[in-house]
């Protein structure tokens, strides 16, 4: 379970202070699928980064599966992130110099999985994403939808408890977008917790719950049935 209480995030430059998040209270239960919506600049991505342990809050508390992480160093957060959180980005962020297989394999390398398990896990994930036939291709040789499928494969290969998706369909056409959403839904049904930032009400309709953010505050929460 993720438990966020009175969370604040302030970006300070030399001259201006910007409050990106202001008093957020949010609980995400295990197995839940949460969509985070709101206009540009409302703090959606900042919230997602903090949830994904990429960033620290300025104040407030955050309990990540039983650990208080708000005071953790980057190193400690990286350690906790490894294997527990998978990320899917709008711009895929695959590494161009690595093949499909190698991209997906990367998280397992950092988890120091032995080679046999690694190969099995990557192959299973790629089969599941229907990308086995592309395993030796480089990202640039794939379509956008295929690239995002590889990115999802990379996010899930280590079987994380939590997947964070930042506008995963933003760069895709509607058919490919639907494909990606179906994949996420399947993963969620298998028990993975998902938090997703999106602009699209259609994508949000896949979630159990939509959190609406405005100027760094949660304004409404809608539950879907």
């Amino acid at each position: 379970m993720l438990l966020i209480t009175n969370l604040q995030k302030i970006f300070a430059t030399e001259e201006v202070e910007t409050t990106a998040l202001n008093g957020i209270d949010l609980t995400i239960n295990d197995g839940e699928f949460v969509a985070i919506m709101g206009p540009s600049g409302c703090g959606k991505s900042t919230l997602l980064n903090i949830i994904g342990l990429l960033d620290n809050p300025s104040s407030g508390s955050y309990n990540f599966y039983g650990s208080d992480v708000e005071k953790m160093s980057e190193r400690q957060r990286a350690q906790l992130r490894k294997g527990n959180v998978g990320f899917v980005f709008q711009s895929f962020n695959l590494i161009d110099e690595l093949t499909v297989f190698e991209n997906v394999e990367l998280p397992l390398l950092y988890l120091k999985e032995p080679i046999k398990q690694r190969n099995e896990m990557v192959e299973a994930t790629l089969k599941r994403m229907n990308m086995m036939h592309r395993r030796n291709h480089f990202p640039q040789q794939l379509s956008g939808g295929q690239q995002q499928r590889v990115a999802i494969a990379r996010a899930v290969v280590a079987k994380p408890k939590l997947i964070l998706a930042d506008e995963p369909t933003g760069n895709l056409d509607s058919a490919n977008g639907k494909d990606v959403m179906n994949l996420l839904q399947e993963l969620n049904e298998e028990g993975t917790t998902i938090a997703m930032v999106t602009h699209s009400p259609y994508d949000a309709s896949y979630a159990h719950r939509t959190v609406n953010l405005f100027d760094g505050k949660i304004v409404t929460e809608n539950f879907h049935v």
């Binding site: 980064n49 994904g52 990429l54 960033d55 980057e74 190193r75 990286a78 350690q79 992130r81 490894k82 294997g83 990320f87 980005f89 962020n93 695959l94 590494i95 161009d96 110099e97 690595l98 190698e102 394999e105 990367l106 998280p107 390398l109 950092y110 988890l111 120091k112 990379r154």
Partner: protein
């Protein structure tokens, strides 16, 4: 994991071909220079280390002091009685070996050659020095008089495949010697290279030297004397006892003019620069200099890599960010980037080794070394290569590794890295260091060059053109005048002169001089060097007279009682001018006479030395150097003429000659080599720096594409864009010049002090070096900046 790293490193190399080329070639060139210089330095440091007892062998040297206590002559050779007396007086001395170098005409049946490097050596030479005796009994071979051992090369030259042992050879057409052994020639890294070893007992024969002279002749300092001492013996105790030792044996106050010293065998090559040495030695200064240059070039190459790697890291930013998001910690990323630079350096090392193999012959040619390719396989060298490989890889990779991985992953993914790269203070500093090194090397080259020009154009006070030098036997055996007349029958032969020494050589002989003080002849305490000449010497070299006249055959006393001094001698003796000296009574050694002439000063020795006071007089039996002045273009005919006369007069001696200007070139051979080396390395340093600058400016242009696009949309011209893009780098090069100039000035000032006569460092040198580096940098940068500035703004904006 390492496979993943190497894979991605390799793919990156292929993807950025130009950058990879710049990086790899820069580091490879740097490493090539480094390895070549390392081979050179190692060779210099390895002299005489092959002797098993090398660290216990010491060479005796002797310094003569003038009456005023100043050093007049420092000799690596000593008189023959020293060796046995030292052994007798200092019981800790285990062995003493004496060697006398000589040359002779060597004859075996029909084969006759003029041989140098004949060493007359004590029989126990093999107990002290390490020789590989291939034939004969090393304990007995040099025992009996008139025994001779041949080096393997010489044995093959004279006897071919025959067994040399027991063969009889004749030296100087006089005495017979029996071959008693053959040994392997000493390696190049030895301070002496005997081709023949003759038994020392031969010298006991009065026809050769004589027992009397061996025990009494304290003045013949032509014997090399080596002592074998016990391990951990403090030589200072012995050196401190030497003054008493000399006073005991030579004369009561001998230590006032003669000083003995010891030098460790393994130090001789790099640290001994006495007035007499067996062979020209190296100099530890060059070892330091080349080591410094080698490191400088390597540093420049590493800086290139660091700069380019950080600059290109923007394209790697997404990868790094993503790796961090996935869970890589900083250590792992540092490890990744270091392994990447290690890979690149490995490729460079391989290329460098190939280049070294390719360039070793040329480098050998040039440094007069015999560096062997197999010395690359020497364990020390392999260890050094591994160390350098690690060092270069770590240094080159450290900055990108630590810099890149310190950036927050979110920042990278958001593209903030670009702006932080544009103003890298450290990178600017690195460029300044690179160019400063290059400019120092350039200024040094220019100064060395202008000094060499200065030397060549220096008015020596005599002619060096078209003078042929011959080495004739003692004139007591024949009538030289008739030879002179025969020579002059050829129209191209203008003048013929004889002397004991020739210009470009050293003036080593001096006796005591006396002049009139009041009513009596009083000895002076001034060292005046002696030069035996005949009446033809001064005209042959066109040496100008300042007062009086040259020797003449019209005055019978000129051959026995006449002296000609140079101006320096006149001045040091205290006379006001040349004219005042004429007619003065003068005594030199045992010869009494009159000063008949004074010459203007001429630079007999090299410009490294001050002009010494010189006295010229006729001394029969010492005039074996013959100088022949030619004129016109019929050189070949003239030489043929000389040869014909030679072969008629001296049928037993091979005809050999050399030109004075060639000898002159050899005087400054070391500096000539330095000049070329400096030029070469300065060029390489500039080349590598420019490669780096090229890569860097290309990359910066890429980073600033958007800025350039916006500026163009707003109406900036191509010219203003080019100056915008070039300005920053020019500033760095200017700073480099400002830093480099005083450093170069100071170090070259020190170098010039090696010459007694030297040029001043002209301010133009700095202007020139600065101008060249700015011009080269500008060309390099504009290559890219013009291209970028001309890019269509639509294109440059879209690429963001």
């Amino acid at each position: 994991m390492i496979r993943n790293y190497l894979k991605i490193a390799f793919r990156n190399l292929l993807k950025h071909k130009l950058f990879s080329f710049i990086n790899i070639s820069g580091v490879a060139i740097g490493l090539t220079c480094f390895f070549l210089l390392a081979l050179y330095v190692k060779d210099e440091l390895s002299y005489d280390r092959f002797h098993e007892k090398g660290d216990r062998i010491y060479r005796l040297s002797r310094t003569f002091l003038s009456m005023d206590g100043t050093v007049s002559l420092r000799l690596g050779h000593t008189a023959p009685p020293f060796g046995p007396l030292i052994q007798q007086d200092f019981p800790m001395v285990e062995q003493v070996v004496r060697m006398l170098e000589t040359g002779a005409l060597m004859r075996y049946e029909e084969k006759v050659f003029n041989e140098e490097n004949i060493f007359v050596a004590d029989a126990n030479i093999f107990d002290v020095f390490t020789f590989d005796v291939l034939a004969g009994n090393k304990n007995k071979a040099l025992e009996n008089p008139f025994s001779i051992m041949f080096s393997k090369d010489m044995a093959e030259k004279y006897f071919g495949k025959e067994n040399p042992i027991g063969k009889i050879v004749k030296m100087n057409n006089q005495l017979d010697y029996t071959v008693t052994g053959v040994y392997a020639p000493l390696p190049a890294q030895s301070h002496f290279h005997p081709q023949f070893l003759v038994s020392f007992s031969t010298l006991n024969d009065n026809r050769v030297y004589g027992v009397e002279a061996l025990t009494n002749n304290w003045g013949n300092n032509s014997f090399s004397t080596y002592l074998l001492l016990p391990e951990k013996y403090d030589v200072n105790t012995m050196v401190k006892a030497f003054p008493d030792f000399q006073n005991r044996h030579i004369e009561p106050r001998a230590s006032a003019f003669s000083v003995l010293d010891l030098m460790k065998l393994t130090d001789i090559h790099l640290y001994s620069h006495l007035d007499s040495e067996i062979e020209a030695n190296g100099d530890v200064q060059y070892v330091y200099l080349f080591t410094a240059i080698a490191f400088f070039i390597l540093v420049i190459a590493c800086i290139n890599y660091m700069n380019l790697a950080t600059a290109t890291s923007a394209t790697r930013a997404k990868e790094i960010g993503m790796r961090k998001v996935i869970g890589a910690d900083r250590g792992q990323l540092i490890y990744q980037f270091l392994s990447e630079s290690m890979l690149l350096v490995s490729v460079s090392v391989l290329i460098a080794i190939l280049l070294v193999l390719l360039f070793i012959p040329a480098f050998n040619d040039f440094t007069q070394k015999q560096l062997a390719i197999d010395s690359l396989l020497d364990p020390y060298f392999i260890v050094m290569m591994l160390v350098i490989w690690l060092f270069t890889g770590l240094v080159a990779g450290s900055y990108p590794a630590f810099f890149m991985t310190s950036i927050h992953p979110l920042g990278i993914l958001k593209g903030q890295i670009g702006s932080s790269l544009k103003n890298g203070g450290l990178r600017q500093m690195l460029v300044v260091i690179q160019f400063a090194i290059a400019v120092v090397l350039m200024i040094s080259t220019a100064v060395v060059y202008s000094q060499m020009k200065f030397v060549k154009n220096y008015k020596l006070g005599y002619t060096t053109d078209q003078i042929v030098l011959l080495n004739m036997p003692d004139d007591s055996t024949f009538d030289f005048e008739s030879v002179r007349q025969r020579l002059k029958q050829n129209g191209s032969i203008m003048k013929v002169g004889r002397s004991s020494r020739i210009p470009s050589g050293r003036l080593l002989d001096s006796w005591g001089a006396s002049v009139m003080k009041g009513d009596t002849m009083a000895p002076t305490d001034i060292t005046i060097k002696s030069l035996s000449v005949d009446e033809g010497f001064i005209p042959t070299y066109k040496i100008e007279m300042a007062a009086g006249r040259n020797f003449s055959r019209n005055f019978s006393t000129d051959k026995t009682n006449a002296f000609v001094l140079n101006e320096t001698a006149v001045r040091t003796l205290g006379w006001k001018g040349a004219a005042e000296a004429i007619g003065k009574r003068f005594k030199y050694g045992e010869i009494q006479g009159q000063i008949i002439g004074v010459t203007k000063d001429f630079y007999f020795e090299s410009l490294h030395q001050q002009v010494a006071p010189i006295v010229m007089f006729h001394q029969p039996g010492r005039l074996h150097r013959v100088s022949v002045q030619l004129a016109g273009s019929e050189i070949k005919g003239a030489i043929a003429h000389i040869r014909a006369i030679w072969e008629e007069r001296f049928p037993d001696i091979p005809f050999e000659y050399e030109f004075l200007d060639q000898r002159f070139g050899q005087l400054y051979a070391v500096e000539q080599t330095q000049q070329t080396l400096f030029g070469l390395f300065a060029g390489i340093a500039i080349l590598i720096s420019c490669l780096g600058l090229l890569g860097l400016s290309m990359f910066m242009a890429e980073l600033r594409t958007k800025e350039i696009g916006v500026r163009k949309v707003l109406g900036a011209s191509v010219v203003s864009m080019v100056s915008l893009l070039s300005k920053d780098y020019l500033k760095l090069v200017l700073i480099a010049i400002v830093i480099a100039s005083p450093i170069a000035w100071y170090s070259m000032q020190l170098w010039l002090e090696n010459f007694a006569y030297h040029t001043e460092i002209h301010w133009g040198v700095f202007l020139l070096a600065g101008g060249i580096s700015i011009a080269i940098a500008l060309i390099t940068i504009s290559f890219q900046s013009i291209k970028t500035a001309r890019l269509s703004p639509v294109k440059s904006l879209r690429s963001e």
